[in-house]
């Protein structure tokens, strides 16, 4: 099941600052709810958020893919070292292969 923050991002269809725009709260019982809604758009109902389940799941899955790609790309220093040792063409081919192996939904 997709997380509430993912559903809200899909509902607003933009980046959300969860320290100012929308504050989510878990009182320690594992139930996450909207504590404060500080943006101009109307606060969504539970039904509206539930309708975004599939889109929010895709968002989360793609986020995992991005994280996996980042790890495989390596640090900036590692990438520069690779270019120096193997050339730009090899570097681009390597990066593209990582994208191919880890496609977004």
């Amino acid at each position: 099941m997709a997380k509430l923050n993912s559903k809200i991002i899909k509902y607003l269809n933009r980046e959300v600052d969860f320290r100012k725009d929308v504050l989510l709260q878990d009182d320690g019982d594992g139930v996450v709810y909207i504590k404060e809604w500080n943006v101009a758009e109307a606060q969504p109902t539970d039904e509206q958020l539930d309708a975004l389940e599939a889109e929010a799941t895709t968002l989360e899955n793609n986020y995992q893919v991005i994280n996996t790609r980042k790890k495989l790309y390596g640090s900036t220093a590692e990438q520069l070292e690779y270019i120096v040792e193997n050339g730009v063409d090899s570097f681009i081919a390597k990066q593209n292969q990582i994208k191919t192996d880890n496609p977004k939904e």
Binding site: K3, L4, N5, V16, F18, R19, L23, L24, Q25, D26, D27, G28, D29, V32, K35, N67, K71
Partner: protein, 209 residues
Amino acid sequence: MANVEIDGVNSKVYTDQVDPKTGTTLTLGTSGDTVSIPSGVTIANSGTATGFGIAEVDNWRISATQSISADTGTVVNSSWERNDTNSDKIGTGLTESSGVFTFPSTGIYLISYQQNIARSGDSRYFTGSIMLSTNSGVAYSIVARSYTNITQVASSQTSSGLCTSCTIDVTDASTFRLRFETDGDEAYDLRAESTYQITGFYCIKLGDT
């Protein structure tokens, strides 16, 4: 026996020792009186003094790992336990229910909270906050907060920690509530141990309100 006023003119009694006439208890004044010790006077204690010093000390920790969702202010509430490893409270101690602590009495308290976390992946911030309610838990406000972050340095979980502390003037022990909250840009685990403190706090009553 009727009260006897001694030297009411000069308000002084000159003697080298005062002992109880009966029993072993000597009482100075009655409720509401103030016994003042003038500047320059030294009290040297070679016996046992009780009722002075620290009246309340307590130390709590969580003993089970708590999973925290991204972008969600979360009450730390994962098997709180009083530190019982070579430690004990002084005084009455705090009481806990669902991550909410109640103070034993009014007074000024020092609260020191530490939190350790672990995550696989980066996150630009994590917070740990001391939260206070003055209306029996209806609403809480932040009284202290600290930040940390994680840049993953290996393929497994990377750890980070933070500490924050403050003093709280508890003017009404029946309505003041204390709890701890954590928040992060990404999901993470709040680390816990049952034999030592890795996430927990200590509390000392410094004096009266």
